[in-house]
């Protein structure tokens, strides 16, 4: 069955072609069925390959399947080939599985949209590229998928292109991602220049002969990490993700929460063999992840748009994953990536269900008390919220606790401290969102808005994701040794920083209890603020106006980038346009043409058209030549 791995990305591509070329003439039901079926088949095939893969002996769990030679030029070879190993299989399962659910959900959510077929063709194209990204066996093919998902992200953020803010957000995402992609590409160049190959296995095998901390590997990994900060929305390139919420909500769930934004984390884990050789890069990765986790969490506290809260929460959770990679706990990063895909997709789909039921209202100040109108949405949303807050035994608890644990034992107490504070804030803002949306007074106009539960195409994916969010973490049960199936499974794909130290079980249990109680404190504060004493937030804001001002305006980062980057670039471009292009380049071209025209205007007076003038000229010429010959 593994020989058919190329079919996994092919199904969505076929779906994209059918929907993209013929979708206009097909009915909405057919378009939705084709789109969902294409991804569903990929998922089933991935599942089959996964089951077959588990039969393989543990030593030989890395399989490469070459489809054809893509580029062959001199010593440079690039194959269109797939790498089947534990890491890519986990990613394939998460991507195709979550994609299938979100496709089904989209059938209900986008039902009244005139761009229905366009939406599904983009979505299928995205899945195709994402599957290429996670299953490629070399950097170049991975880069193809990497660029492809960026393109689809741009297309889907700007899906409602008639809205100015949406098309602006799409452009912003594209441009910011270009900066990261530039770094990624430079990293690829350095790797090819150093190792003479782009195949993952060959590069990692060759890299193991290099000493720890060698300059070239440090440079390559830093460039690769710049790529990861762009795609995975880390400081300093995270600014596009909150704006990406202009796209349809299922897109936010699929691309900007569950799959595409995790590409950077996947890439870090994939290149773990390089990163462990570059301690400087590892420190940079960990610090950037820590700062992102913390600052994005604080920004999430003061947002009123339900999707923006989730967007900042996504940035923050991605920060956790990156920090985990930075302290060498790549497995924990991927583990959190997986659980996050479940519960964050669920949160977004739940918020989509709320927005759907509220006729497009996204502002939580105009919600409240929705629990009794949409019980399925409420309970599934609650499960996801408990998961992201890290409450036992939901999925997020295991993965987040693991990251906190490793940030303390393998990293630095500072990483752990700040990440713990961020976890507290996470629990606070997530429960703030739940309380403002589903509890309390009904703050909407009953004459205009009639909240209602989602149709079954939307409710079914919610329930499935809720189950996954509840039990998905059990594959990585941390305390009992040997119970961490996830880590054992991923071991062939991931390089380790140093041998696993043994930790006392009591210490691990204490850490768990501590992170649980931290989450509990966050929930309690949210309960106090938004249910018990609804006037308390305003009083706190009044007490710290400056702090609130900064948090509410997201630390003015967008404004700072505008002033420091966008405006200078605009002014520079303006100068290049009007000054250099119009002045110098056009000036040279027009000036030379003008000079020639001026000279001609004078010279053409010699051309009288009278034969006799020419005869005189011939005579004078003859006289001159004759005089020269004679007088010589």
């Amino acid at each position: 069955m593994m020989d058919y791995v190329w079919l996994i990305p092919l199904f969505p591509l076929i779906g994209f072609l059918i929907n993209g070329l013929l979708g206009k003439r097909l009915s909405k039901n057919v378009v939705g069925t084709i789109g969902s079926l294409a991804v569903g088949l990929s998922f089933l095939l991935t599942l089959g390959i996964f089951l077959e893969f588990l039969q393989l002996p543990e030593g030989s769990r890395v399989v490469e399947k070459t489809v054809f030679t893509w580029i062959s030029s001199g010593s440079f070879q690039a194959q269109a080939a797939f790498l089947i190993d534990p890491l890519s299989l986990v990613m394939l399962l998460v991507v195709s599985g979550v994609s299938t659910l979100i496709h089904i959900y989209s059938v209900g959510y986008m039902h009244d949209d005139p761009g229905f077929y366009r939406y599904f063709s983009y979505l299928n194209l995205f899945v195709f590229n994402m599957l290429i990204l996670v299953s490629a066996n070399n950097f170049l093919l991975m880069f193809v998928g990497w660029e492809g998902v960026g393109l689809c992200s741009y297309l889907l953020i700007g899906f409602w292109y008639e809205r100015r803010s949406a098309s602006d957000a799409g452009k912003k995402a594209f441009v910011v991602n270009r900066i990261g992609d530039f770094g990624f590409l430079l990293g690829i160049f350095i790797i090819f220049w150093t190792f003479g190959s782009l195949n993952f296995q060959e590069v990692f095998a060759a890299a193991s002969h290099y000493p720890v901390g060698s300059a070239v590997i440090t440079a390559a990994t830093l460039c690769l990490f710049l790529g990861a900060t762009g795609k995975s929305a880390q400081i300093p390139l995270y600014v596009w993700l909150p704006d990406a919420m202009e796209g349809p909500t299922p897109v936010s769930a699929l691309i900007h929460a569950a799959t595409m934004v995790t590409a950077g984390v996947y890439m870090l884990a994939r290149c773990s063999a390089l990163f462990v050789l570059a301690p400087v890069s590892m420190t940079v990765v960990a610090v950037v992840g820590m700062l992102t986790a913390f600052f994005a969490a604080t920004m999430g506290m003061a947002q009123f748009d339900i999707k923006r809260v989730l967007a900042y929460s996504t940035v923050s959770q991605l920060g956790y994953m990156v920090m985990a990679c930075g302290v060498g706990a790549f497995v924990s990063g991927i583990f959190h990536l997986m659980t996050h895909a479940f519960f964050k997709a669920l949160l977004f789909l739940g918020s989509g269900s709320v927005i759907h039921g509220m006729h497009g209202q996204q502002d939580m100040r105009h919600m409240g008390g929705l629990r009794k109108y949409m019980p399925i949405t409420y309970w599934t949303f609650m499960v996801a919220t408990l998961a992201i807050s890290g409450i036992f035994p939901f999925a997020g608890f295991f993965s987040k606790d693991e990251i906190l644990f490793y940030s303390l034992v393998d990293g630095h107490v500072l990483y752990w401290g700040i990440a713990t504070v961020a976890a507290l804030i996470t629990a606070f803002y997530m429960f703030r969102a739940v309380f403002m949306t589903f509890h309390g007074k009904e703050r909407f106009d009953h004459h205009e808005v009639h909240p209602h539960e989602a149709p079954w195409t939307m409710a079914a994916p919610l329930i499935i994701l809720a189950v996954l969010s509840a039990v998905g973490g059990l594959v990585g049960f941390p305390i009992i040794e040997g119970a961490h199936k996830f880590k054992e499974f991923l071991a062939p794909s991931i390089a380790t920083l140093h041998p696993e130290a043994h930790h006392a079980m009591s210490f691990e249990i204490f850490m768990m209890a501590f992170s649980m109680s931290v989450a509990g404190v966050g929930i309690f504060i949210a309960y106090k603020f938004y249910l018990k004493k609804p006037d308390l937030p305003a009083r706190v804001v009044a007490k710290f106006p400056v702090v609130y001002e900064y948090i509410y305006n997201k630390y003015f980062v967008d404004e700072f980038y505008d002033a420091a980057v966008v405006e200078p670039v605009k002014n520079g471009s303006d100068f290049l346009w009007h000054g250099v292009d119009e002045g110098v380049v056009d000036g040279v071209v027009n000036g030379s043409a003008g000079t020639v025209a001026w000279i001609s205007a004078h010279l053409r007076k010699l051309e009288t058209g009278f034969v006799q003038t020419y005869a005189l000229a011939i005579l004078l010429g003859m006289v001159l030549i004759g005089g020269y010959l004679i007088g010589r």
Partner: protein, 101 residues
Amino acid sequence: MAVPLSYYLALSVALFALGVIGVIIRRNAIVIFMSIEMMLNAVNLAFIGFADYFKAVDGQMFVFFVLTVAAAEVAVGLALIVAIFRNRGSIYVDDLNILRW
């Protein structure tokens, strides 16, 4: 009594110069044409003078060539002038400046 070579050449130069001046300053195409003939004949005269001087027959042979070419040229040239007159109603070269920019 033999005529000295310098007499021949002096007459030839004078005729040639008259011809050149005619070509350059006259406006009537037929007169210009006649002036060209005069230049040709000035050259013929020089040829004959040299033939006599060197006691060689080559110069006279060239004169015959020139005469035949000149006859052909007259035929073509007059035909052109007639055609121009029919088209434009004038053979004054002042009016024939349509090649100008």
